[in-house]
């Protein structure tokens, strides 16, 4: 439940892009959220709407794409989707792993009116 902190960072980053490209109105912001990032889409959208009541992002839609957790096996190097716990390599059955994606929340792109 740190959605306001994430939206604050989102507004700062998109705000920079708005300034650099002289954008008047943003229609859509697309982000990808890793399965392990503890992001609640509804709470994120609620915070986004509450924090964009004016300015170029007012009324913009926030699209959240879910990104699976991917682990790399410590023993055989195989990369696999880590859907649940315990995380076990489907090839060699090792339980040693490193998470290589699924913990991040990326702003992918924005759509805006020219």
């Amino acid at each position: 439940m740190h959605e306001t902190a994430l939206v604050r960072n989102l507004l700062a980053t998109v705000g920079q892009a708005i300034d650099v490209h002289h954008i008047k109105k943003v229609n859509r912001v697309v982000i990808s959220a890793g399965k392990l990032a503890n992001v609640l889409p509804d709470a994120l959208i609620f915070a986004f709407e509450a924090m964009t009541q004016d300015g170029p992002m007012k009324g913009a839609e926030l699209e959240i794409r879910s990104v699976p957790a991917v682990a790399r096996c410590d023993d055989c190097g195989y990369e696999y989707q880590a859907d649940g716990f315990p995380i076990v390599c489907p090839v060699c059955k090792s339980n040693g792993f490193r998470i290589i994606s699924g913990e991040e929340v990326y702003i992918e792109s924005i759509e805006y009116e020219e």
Binding site: M1, H2, A5, L6, N9, L10, A12, T13, V14, A17, H21, I23, N27, I31, L36, A37, N38, F85, P86, I87, N95, G96, I99, E103, E104, V105, Y106, I107, E108, S109, I110, E111, Y112, E113, E114
Partner: protein
């Protein structure tokens, strides 16, 4: 309609500051622990008990994170260890920038160890790197044996897990070995310790020894 690609991690701002903190800690040879766990898991009690033992070997300071009050810093200062209090005013976790601000209030040249007690919360702190060397999750037996699988992300990146209040096992119907198996299922690399109160004394010597050893290794590098 036009599209602009951005591709920036929303945690990047926090991660950048965390990297700066990590450099500061490294240049001063300070070992840093980020301690997280639910409210009531026993984080502050653990600190009250291990700090006098740690303080005999390592010059130590504590940074306390809570939503409100100075209570925890005051508790820590009674052990004779310097404690700074961060009040997050409602925020559910500490961020690297909050730690950076505290560092100017510490004499970093005369420290070997900083322990950061994060806001009591088993979800959000896990996503925010503070620049620490050790991520410690504190978990009491009273929280239930399957807590690790219910809150996996905190355990996923933990270096150490401290199971507290094991003297309560007879009253809470928890099998510590099963709890450990759940932890190993999520993170087999985590080093697990147990603490308990026994005959009025707090048993934590293994954990204390481990921290002194780890901090010494960093100093030696």
């Amino acid at each position: 309609m036009a599209e602009l690609e951005i591709w920036e991690d929303l945690f990047s701002q926090n991660n950048r500051k965390a990297a700066e903190n990590r450099n500061v800690f490294k240049s001063h040879g300070i070992y840093v622990i980020n301690m997280m766990g639910s409210p009531g898991s026993g984080k502050t009690t653990l600190l009250e008990n291990i700090l006098p033992k740690l303080g005999a070997h390592l010059r130590t300071a504590v940074i306390e994170g809570d939503l409100a009050t100075q209570n925890d810093a005051l508790r820590i200062e009674k052990t004779g260890i310097t404690a700074l209090q961060i009040n997050t005013d409602g925020a559910c976790h500490l961020e690297s920038e909050m730690i950076e601000k505290q560092l100017s209030m510490l004499d970093l040249n005369s420290l070997d160890l900083i322990i950061i007690e994060n806001v009591g919360n088993l979800v959000c702190p896990a996503s925010f790197d503070l620049g620490e060397d050790m991520r410690m999750v504190v978990l009491s037996v009273a929280e239930g044996k399957d807590k690790p699988v219910k809150y996996p992300t905190a355990f996923l990146n933990a270096d150490t897990v401290v199971i507290t209040k094991t003297d309560l096992v007879p009253y809470v119907d928890v099998d510590v070995d099963v709890m450990k198996r759940y932890i190993a299922g999520i993170n087999p690399k985590a080093v697990v310790f147990e603490t308990a109160k026994k005959d009025g004394a707090y048993m934590s010597d293994q954990l204390v020894g481990y921290i002194i050893d780890q901090a010494g290794r960093k100093k030696g590098v």
